[in-house]
Structure formats: C-alpha cells, structure tokens
C-alpha cells in the first residue's frame, strides 16, 4: 500500500496502543511475585511439614466444604496437610524450573557464541544438533533419557536444562553475528580487544534484553514439562513433591477427594498463564518492532 494517510486516519480509536500497565499484566505480575514469595518462604508459611502423615485424618475436606481450620485445604490420602504440601510443591516446581531454564540458557547462549565466533564446521554441527532437538517433541527426548538413565533428582534437573538450549543457541548466534558487524564491535576490535572481551563486555550486555525475554518465555514451558513428567510419575518422585506430582497422585481420588488434584492443578494453570502474560508483555515492551 503506497497510499499515505494523515496520521489521525492511520490509527482509529480501536487500534490505539494498550495502556502501559494493563490490569491483566498487573494481576499476573502480582501473582508471580506472590508465587516467588511462597517459594522462598515455604518452610515459614507451611503449618505442617509436607511429609507428616496422620492416617486417622486422611482425606479430610477443605474448610469451605465442612473441614476444620486445622487443615485449611484438607488432607490427602495419607493425612498430609494439603496446604503445606502445596507450598512446598510450589517451591520445588519453581526451583526445578528455574534451575532447568538457567542451565538451558547458559549452555545455549555459550553454544550460540561459539557458533557465531568459529562459523564453519563448529557452527554447522551446533546448528544441526539444534535442528535435531527442535524437530522432536522434547517430552519424548526426556522420556527416553529417563528410561535409560533412571529417575534421580539431579538427572531430572539436567534433563530440564536440556530443554530449550537450542532456542537460546539460535537466538544468540543470530544476534551475535549481526552485532559483530555493528560500529561499536568493530571499534572495540580495532582498539585491540580480544574476542573474549568483545563478547563478554560489549556484545553480551547489548543482547541481554533479548535473552531475558527468551528466559521468561521458556520458563513456563519448563514448568509445564516438569509438571507433565511429575504428573506421569516420572519426574519428581515421593518423598519429594511438586505440583505435577500432587496432581498425578490426586487423580486416584477424584471421586472421593477431588480437591487433592484440583488445588495443584489450578496453581499450575495460573502460574504458567501469569508468567506467559508477563513474558509477552516484556517482549512487547522491549521489542521496538512490535510497538
């Protein structure tokens, strides 16, 4: 379209940009902050230990369904306090997802830098591995790794870290290659900076915002991956707990005690949605092309 319209024609009322802080984003942000707070303070906030069993009080309903205030959200099949378990589950799920996303981001970014620096065969090899990982659903790769190497906690975090590295690698490679040709990078090189100095002190700070956005977009995916695997009984296993593990265990009691499954499920849903909303918002704010 080559037609040039006067400015006020170009943007009808309905198309005006959204407010700076839409209510939904604020709500999502508050929820994320609350969640992080709960994750940090789980041991302070929880009225009971998440492993304490009380078999005589098992499957007690939450307080709004006729339960007592001794167990606000009721108890599970072993009489463990669901509120306490929920708080600890939030902690474990957030911790695993944060650790996993961080590992993936570090490895991916490093490989992206390597690919951009060496080009040639190194780049080809890294990009081919990225292609392979991207062409297979990661859940399948994770399941295969668990089948072969078993289900230890450390391995599980490593598997979570395996997720998403290829996105970081591709992204980093792309932005580094384009950043290297920009004036500041050429100038710094001409002044005698080593490649290491160039990358760590000059290019990395410049592409950090892109990486942070990718981090917030990857984080809910890793939470979903963790909860899915734990739900299937192949991720975080008892005596540890996680949101997915609680939900999976609660499945067996849907007829008698649906709350065991519904509380962790709702938290998973709200968590992934809130972080996605916040992540999308940050991306829109940081990406000038979309403004």
């Amino acid at each position: 379209m080559s037609l040039v319209l006067p400015r006020k024609w170009k943007k009808p009322a309905a198309d005006r940009p959204e407010r700076r802080y839409p209510a939904l984003v604020v709500m999502a942000l508050i929820f994320v902050v609350l969640l992080l707070g709960v994750a940090c303070l789980a041991d302070v906030l929880a009225p009971y230990d998440y492993r304490t069993q009380a078999l005589r009080l098992r499957l007690a309903p939450p307080v709004f369904l006729g339960g007592t205030s001794a167990h606000w959200l009721g108890t599970d099949e072993l009489g463990r306090d669901i509120l306490s378990r929920l708080l600890y589950a939030i902690r474990f799920s957030i911790l695993v997802a944060l650790g996993g996303t961080a590992i993936g981001a570090l490895v991916g970014t490093a490989l992206g830098f390597l690919a951009a620096h060496f080009r040639g065969l190194v780049e080809e090899a890294i990009m081919m591995l990225a292609d392979v990982q991207a062409s297979l659903p990661f859940l399948l790769i994770a399941l295969a790794l668990i089948a072969v190497f078993g289900g230890s906690f450390m391995l599980f975090i490593l598997i979570m870290g395996f997720y998403g590295w290829e996105v970081f690698a591709r992204l980093t490679r792309g932005v580094v290659i384009s950043a290297r040709n920009q004036g500041y990078a050429v100038a710094v090189t001409a002044l005698g900076a080593s490649p290491w100095q160039l990358y760590s002190k000059h290019i990395l700070p410049n592409i950090l915002s892109v990486l942070i956005v990718q981090f917030t977009l990857n984080f809910p995916q890793v939470i979903l991956l963790e909860t899915s695997l734990s739900f299937l009984g192949l991720g975080i296993r008892p005596p540890l707990t996680s949101l997915g593990q609680m939900l999976g265990a609660g499945r067996a009691f849907l007829t008698t005690a649906w709350w065991i499954a519904i509380f962790p499920g709702t938290i998973i849903f709200l968590t992934t949605m809130s972080i996605s909303i916040v992540g999308d918002w940050i991306r829109d704010r940081l990406d000038p092309a979309l403004r």
Partner: protein, 310 residues
Amino acid sequence: MDWQALIRKLVRGLLTVWVVVTFTFVALNLSGDPIEALVGDQASPEVVQQYRQKFGLDRPLWEQYVSYLQNLVQGDFGLSLSDQRPATELIEEALPYTLRLGLTAFGLGLLAGLALGIVAALHRNRPVDRFVMSFAVLGFSLPNFFLGILLILLFSLHLRMLPSAGADTIWHLILPAITLGTHFAGVFARFTRSAMLEVLNRQYMVAARAKGAPQARRVLWHALPNAAIPIITIVGLKLGDLVAGSIIVETVFGWPGVGRLLIGAVTSRDFAVVQAILILTAITMVLSNLAVDFFYTLVDPRMRSARKEG
C-alpha cells in the same frame, strides 16, 4: 521448491534420524550392562559370557553399532521385555488408536481454531474478539493433563454422561479428543486471527467488496487462501505438540495408544519399545516436515521458483 532445496532438506532429515539413532545407541551403551539387568547379579560368569556372545556384546563397539544400524534398517527394534514380542508389533497394535485420537483432536482443533480466528478477525477489538481471544489464551495455557481431569470430573463423575477411560465406543473418544483439541484450537485461533488481519485490509479485498462479492465468499475465497501460509507453518510446527500432547492425554484417559505404551515402557525401562517409538517418531516428524514444505509449494506458486532458503 527447486530440486536442490528439496535434496538439501532430505539430507537434513536423514541426518536428524541418524543423530537420533546414534544417540539411542550411545545412551543404551552408557546406561550399564544389559546382560546384568537380564540375568541378575547372581549369575555365574560363564552364563554371562554365553549371553554376551548370544547378543553379540563381546564384539567391538563399532561392529555392534553397524549391526545395530542393520537391524534398524530391517525394521528390527528388538524384543519387548514384558512379553518378548517384537517392539514394532506392540506399536502396530497401538498405532490405530493414537491415529484415531490424534487426527480427531487435530481436526477438531483446526476447524474450531480457523472458525474462531476468522470470527475474531472480522470483529477486531470488539467484545466478540476479546471473548474469543480470552478463550484462545485459556485453551493453550490450560495444561492438557489438568483439562483432562477437569473434564473427567465434570462429565464422567458429576454429570455421568461420558466414560472416563477406555476406547471401546465412539463415546470414549469425546473427552480425550476435546482435551487434546482445545490446545490446538487456542493456538490456531490466535494465528488465524493475526494472519487474517494481515490480509483483510489489502486492496484485493476492497476490490472484491467493490464488485459486490458477499462476505462469506470474500473471506473464504479471497482472504483465507492468502492467509494460509502462516497458518500452514504453525500447523506443521504443532505436529510435535500433537505427539507430546497425546502421550499425556492417552495416559490420563487410559487410551490404549502409542503414548500410553511409551509411558508403560519408560516406567518398566523396556528399552526396545522406547527406542522403537523414539526412532519411528523421529522419522515421522522428519517426513511430516518435508510434507509441510511440499505443501507450501502447492499453496503458494511463488515458492515454486523461490530461491533456496533453508
């Protein structure tokens, strides 16, 4: 797509499958001694040695690798631990169920997503649009295992309308298909909306309107084909999600497909079945990616002569 690009994509696909196969071989070799797992640690060294020879584990690693590849090419993925039947046989039995569920869910999701996306685009920024887009966000943020449980709770346990597990009748298909399809409906609705918005204000749309074409014809005949490229791209990209989603949904609903077979095999560490599913899925994904690429050329004549861009 010219031949060069096609061949390059084929080579890339083959490399992908080769990496997956090699990865499985290495992983299996790193995982420990399969003979020990088979005969237990009480067995005498002679028995262990016998088994080693029987399975060819006394040969050098590269010979094992070559014969491993040969077996795979001949479709021999080994025997399942649980009942000593070929892994491929188990997959063959489960595959029709997975296809029935997956295709139904994908079809439902695509139809609903297209319809919702078009409606939203036509009512841009009006309440209908907001409502549809809220549904879309809800659809793809609800984890499918949780949605499945909510549906079971409502339709099976509360209303007692639909069965919650099994695959005997058409009724058994409804809940898992809705669970799996909702995610795709949400994703496709969002993409269809933005793809439609791209084209709805083009000059050929104005021209179509000026010549008096009714709205339905304008949307389906003029706008949709032009919006098809990004929609097909996302459909292709979401095939992986379909595989991952069906693994979980099949487990939630006790649907006897490949996904549930896989979870059972991972739990009992039945390597033959796991590797067979992994490798066959890799091949399927590579082929479907090629198919999507090929489909572009059918939809967009410009791509037939487009430069090779990988």
